[in-house]
């Protein structure tokens, strides 16, 4: 193989030609997204499907969803480095990369999403301490730096780079300080996951999103943290499963996957307990106080089915499947449950972003339906594709999975 010296020792990889075709496909998608991005930067956000009613749309939903699912990074780090669950070393590298991709991808879309990207740094310079979004801006950017720092030693593990003493030393030192970064990351991530939820909970002009809370934090603050840590681990695990099916090689031991499923399952139960409590309090407290009935929060498009989908099919069902050992020991059920969990979080982020804005609050206003257009899909696909490229490269050239050789022996 042409790139043989770059591959990790003792593993098998597909031919460079095949790899190149795969990467070319992904690059094509990136180019498609880049064209859309060019149009957006060139003419303005008017070329997207966003509008005055839906100032937030696919991008914000995508950002919030990937940030929640990317929580696998900080949470696995927290479990491994702080709580010392060593089993997770089998997947921690992937968790870091997935986290890095989720956050960097979200950042890319945010740059597109704001009307004045050149002023993005105003968030630091003119920070409004009262805004949940300020907290998000600070934490996301800081955490992205942390994730970058966590990603660097993984890159340094490459066979050729590792030969250089400077990098070898650097990697070693990084590993020593990693628990510190894991702790910092946990702190940062915890806060912005919460703040993202808080962003919606504080919208007292939008009864669908509005929540009461504790001190300055509306309940959504805590619910977003819980749902993120419940879904993050299984999302990382699903990525590893996806990689396995693409590469047709075992990468992560099933026991690790099961462990992640178990962790997610328990957290999901806790989350759902509070989420049901919250939904009940909202439907019987916040809504009538604002003059709305529960039924008025839904229409034919944004129907109650979304709520039952989120809480039932993508909530209670996977929670049971993940908690009951006999169920999660079956790979098919474990993966299905993991997928449903992740889907539930996506639905949750979607309704908070889009349904909140679709509901007419003024009695003489009307429902609107948001349909993202191709520019939003293309740029979102670009981020997915960019992530696939990085994961592919990382898998090919970096020793991500300590058990890979053993599992495929």
């Amino acid at each position: 193989m042409l790139d043989e010296p770059l591959l990790p020792e003792g593993v098998q990889r597909c031919s460079p030609a095949r790899f190149l075709v795969w990467i070319t496909l992904l690059v094509a998608v990136v180019i498609w997204g880049a064209v859309a991005a060019f149009l957006i930067f060139g003419w303005g956000l008017g070329v997207t499907g966003l509008n005055n009613y839906f100032g937030f749309g696919l991008w914000i939903t995508f950002d919030l969803a990937v940030i929640a699912l990317g929580a696998g990074a900080f949470f696995s780090g927290f479990l491994k480095y702080i709580l010392g669950i060593d089993e997770l070393k089998n997947i921690i590298n992937l968790a870091v990369i997935v986290g890095f991709l989720c956050y960097s991808g979200a950042m890319m879309l945010l740059v597109l999403d704001i009307g004045q990207p050149l002023r993005a740094w105003f968030g630091y310079w003119h920070a409004n301490v009262h805004s949940m979004l300020t907290e998000v801006i600070f934490c996301i950017t800081c955490y992205l730096i942390v994730l970058t720092i966590e990603f660097i030693p993984i890159i340094l593990e490459n066979r050729q780079i590792h030969k250089i003493s400077l990098f070898r030393n650097l990697a070693h030192n990084f590993h020593i300080v990693m628990p510190l970064f894991a702790a910092v990351g946990t702190f940062l991530s915890f806060f912005h996951q919460g703040s993202l939820g808080g962003m919606y909970g504080v919208l007292f002009g939008r009864p669908f999103a509005l929540r009461e809370g504790f001190f300055i934090w509306p309940w959504t603050f805590f619910l977003f943290i819980l749902s993120a840590i419940a879904s993050g681990p299984v999302f990382t695990m699903l990525i590893s499963r996806l990689m396995e099916s693409f590469t047709r090689r075992s990468l992560v031991p099933y026991s690790t996957k099961e462990l992640l499923g178990k962790i997610s399952g328990f957290l999901l139960c806790i989350y759902l307990f509070f989420k049901f409590l919250d939904t009940w309090a909202w439907a019987t407290g916040v809504l009538p106080r604002s003059g709305f009935s529960f039924e008025e929060m839904f229409n034919q498009v944004y129907g109650q089915w979304l709520l039952w989908l989120e809480l039932g099919l993508c909530g209670v069902v996977p929670a049971i499947m993940l908690v009951v050992p006999t169920l999660r020991s079956r790979p098919g059920l474990l993966y299905a449950a993991s997928f449903l969990t992740c889907a539930g979080v996506v639905v949750n982020r979607f309704v908070f972003t889009v349904q909140t804005l679709a509901i007419p609050v003024m009695p003489f206003d009307q429902w609107y339906t948001y349909i993202p257009n191709w520019t939003e899909w293309a740029t979102s696909a670009m981020v997915v594709s960019y992530s696939a490229i990085v994961v592919s490269l990382a898998h090919r050239y970096l020793p991500l999975f300590p058990k890979e050789r053993q599992l495929n022996a």
Partner: protein
């Protein structure tokens, strides 16, 4: 190169701190925040002292004084003028767009001549060389030159009519509208003297029989002001809950062809309860007999579709009021009213003793004449353009050789556009003085663009519906933006070349003379003031009954069976006036249920929709005997069953991007109806058919 960990970290840290100490990042961020505020493609706002100048809004009815704010001589805003009695600080959305219209892409920038079907720019000298020999060649030949003016208040009319007279033509016409129609009925049919005005400020009860007086009839701005002050109780009878009806204390739903009948039905009760009017009215007995006979409660119910109690209570209100005023007129503020309806409304006022009295109908004297050769004001008003065009189209009258269009766009704004086009095609040479490339200008051979009204000196004598004679003068507030010329001055120049004496050197001396005759202070007039005189003309030969009237009352209306739905035209100043199209800022005020992309909406109620098989948002075809329009359906329960509201002002084919191709021109659905008895031609509001257009591919 040996670089240990410490060294590396030092290098990185040093780099970061070092860069931070240089001005680079700080300068860069500072620059970014400045750049992002000053992109070169974003227009900059002007700087300088702001002052304001009085001006006169001359965009067609209503006309009133406004104030124009300027920065360094350049107008930026038009506002109401609190000191002008016809505005009292209010402004309508069209006049508020005056300043933007100065820079409309539709402005004609210089004289143009049509050659091989396309316009080419020419100089003013060339333009005069083109028109002068043509006019001089027609001089002395009877009625070879005709003129249509759409400005009912300007002294330019005298110059135009005087010029025509000098050339040997009597074919001066006003663009048909309420002024000409009211004049026709009042003077020619009823033998009245003077011109009718309506003293709304003095009334305590106003019953509008059709006119949308808070939107399109008369001086809506002034009427809105009075309404806001709450000086009168407002009752509205008409087929649609328009803005006037919505604001009124009561809306009495009546189909538009029953409004005259309603007036006579009310007259029945008034005649019963009240002694005859003080004024000795000839024909009172005949009318009395006619009404007592034909408008018994049972007949009235049949004719108006209203319950007897409704009519009775309405009559009761009129009888109880101290100063009631009945307003008959057009639903759209143009020529869609029959002589019958006007006559009935006038009669009701007369029976209520509401002539030349506070809060009643006022007979305003003739304005003074300053162009010696010009016909009298009454003579100028008596031309019937619709009848003339009909005759020309039918070939019963010889078409003139040359026609002048001043502030008038008949191709767009007259009913039966096919007939109008046919008539105009027979005229070999047409000249437009329009400021804008409108539908009529596009058919002309020579364009001699007039200044925009903010660029010119002009006047307004007693705009339609005024309570008393009044006179306002507007001075130009800026230098002309384009190479345009004042039409009256151009005509005075031309008259010199044609060796005609119109009695004035310039338009300014002419207006000063007029002010002098009125005994008005020129200084006050030109600083935003208004002259006013409350003199009324007493009547000595007014007739409530004569042959023509009895024929007018006796006629039946033809009702073709396949057309079931009453069409109700509606005018909205946001979509412009018969003289202008949708102004730039007006377009954006049209709601989603008024115009969607390039399709406009008609309004009808659910029952009518069901009957016609259409639904909210259906794309439909509206068919009248005269034409077809395409529109979408907006369900509105404020429309009578079997009626459909069709807004006017859409469907321009010229003008600019703010009006071209926006909706259809509903005027093409209207016909021209020449009433027997009154002999007056007016725009008929036909019945129409509505059918769903199958999903267009």
């Amino acid at each position: 190169m040996a670089l240990d960990r410490r060294g590396f970290l030092k290098f990185v840290a040093g780099g970061v701190i070092g860069t931070g100490l240089t001005p680079l990042p700080w300068k860069l961020t500072d620059d970014i925040s400045i750049w992002t505020q000053n992109w070169p493609w974003i227009p900059h706002i002007p700087d300088g002292e702001i002052n304001s100048a009085p001006a006169l809004a001359k965009l067609g009815q209503p006309e009133y004084g406004i104030l124009v704010s300027k920065v360094k001589g350049s107008p930026i805003l038009a506002r109401g003028n609190p000191n002008h009695p016809l505005s009292q600080g209010g402004i309508d959305p069209l006049a508020a767009s005056s300043v933007q219209l100065l820079h409309s892409p539709a402005r004609i920038r210089q004289p143009m001549r049509k050659k091989n079907g396309a316009f080419q720019a020419i100089s003013w000298e060339q333009a005069i060389q083109e028109i002068a020999p043509k006019l001089s060649g027609l001089k002395g030949q009877k009625n070879k030159v005709a003129c249509v003016s759409g400005d009912e208040t300007s002294s330019t009319n005298e110059i135009l009519a005087g010029l025509l007279q000098g050339l040997g033509s009597e074919k001066f016409f006003f663009h048909p509208g309420e002024t000409t129609l009211y004049h026709h009925i009042w003077q020619k049919i009823m033998g009245g003297r003077g011109h009718l005005g309506f003293d709304l400020p003095g009334a305590d009860l106003v019953l509008s029989l059709g006119p949308d007086l808070l939107e399109s009839w008369g001086n809506a701005v002034s009427q809105q002001y009075l309404f806001g002050q709450g000086t009168f109780r407002l009752l509205y009878a008409g087929p649609v809950q328009n803005n006037t009806a919505a604001m009124a204390s009561r809306w009495i739903p009546v189909h538009s062809d029953a409004l005259g009948h309603l007036a006579l039905a009310l007259a029945y009760h008034i005649l019963k309860k009240r002694s005859p009017p003080r004024q000795n009215l000839s024909g009172f007995r005949q009318l009395h007999r006619y009404v007592r006979h034909n408008y018994t409660p049972l007949e009235a119910q049949k004719k108006t579709g209203l319950e007897e109690a409704t009519i009775q209570s309405l009559a009761g209100e009129l009888l109880q009021a101290r100063r009631p005023l009945v307003l008959p007129g057009s639903l759209s503020g143009s020529c869609d009213v029959s002589g019958f309806d006007l006559y009935c409304g006038f009669c009701l006022n007369l029976l209520l003793d509401r002539l030349n009295t506070a809060g009643g109908m006022q007979c305003i004297p003739e304005p003074p004449k300053v162009v010696p050769g010009a016909p009298s004001w009454s003579k100028m008003l008596s031309g019937d353009l619709l009848a003339e065009l009909r005759r020309i189209a039918q070939g019963s009258t010889e078409a003139p050789e040359l026609m002048l269009f001043y502030e008038s766009n008949p191709v767009y704004s007259l009913p039966d556009s096919k007939l109008t086009r046919k008539a105009l095609e027979k005229i070999p040479y047409k000249v437009s003085f329009s400021q804008f490339m409108d539908e009529t200008a596009a058919t002309c051979d020579l364009l001699l663009p007039q200044h925009h009204f903010l660029e010119r000196l002009d006047d307004a004598f007693t705009p339609f519906s005024s309570a008393a004679a009044n006179y306002s003068v507007g001075l130009p507030v800026l230098e002309p933006v384009h190479s345009t010329r004042s039409t009256p001055d151009l005509l005075l120049d031309l008259s010199g070349k044609l060796e005609l004496d119109l009695g004035a050197e310039s338009y300014e001396t002419l207006l000063k003379e007029k002010a002098g005759l009125l005994d008005a202070d020129w200084g006050k007039l030109t600083s935003g003031g208004m002259w006013r005189n409350n003199t009324v003309v007493s009547q000595d030969r007014l007739e409530l009954w004569n042959d023509r009237i009895s024929r007018m009352l006796g006629q039946d209306r033809e009702r073709p069976d396949k057309y079931q739905v009453h069409m109700v035209p509606q005018t909205d100043r946001r979509t412009g006036s018969p003289r202008t199209a949708i102004p730039p800022f007006g377009l954006k005020t049209l709601r989603e249920e008024e115009l969607e992309q390039n399709t406009f909406f008609i309004r009808l109620n659910r029952q009518t929709a069901r009957k016609n098989g259409v639904r909210e948002g259906s794309l439909v075809k509206i068919v009248s005997p005269e034409g077809t329009c395409r529109a979408k359906v907006n369900l509105d329960e404020g429309v009578m069953t079997d009626a459909v509201v069709v807004p006017l002002g859409f469907g321009h084919t010229y003008w600019d991007q703010f009006s071209r191709g926006k909706g259809d021109n509903a005027l093409q659905l209207f016909g021209i109806r020449c009433e027997s008895g009154s002999g007056m031609c007016h725009c008929s509001t036909p019945r129409v058919r509505i059918s769903k257009i199958e999903a267009a591919r």
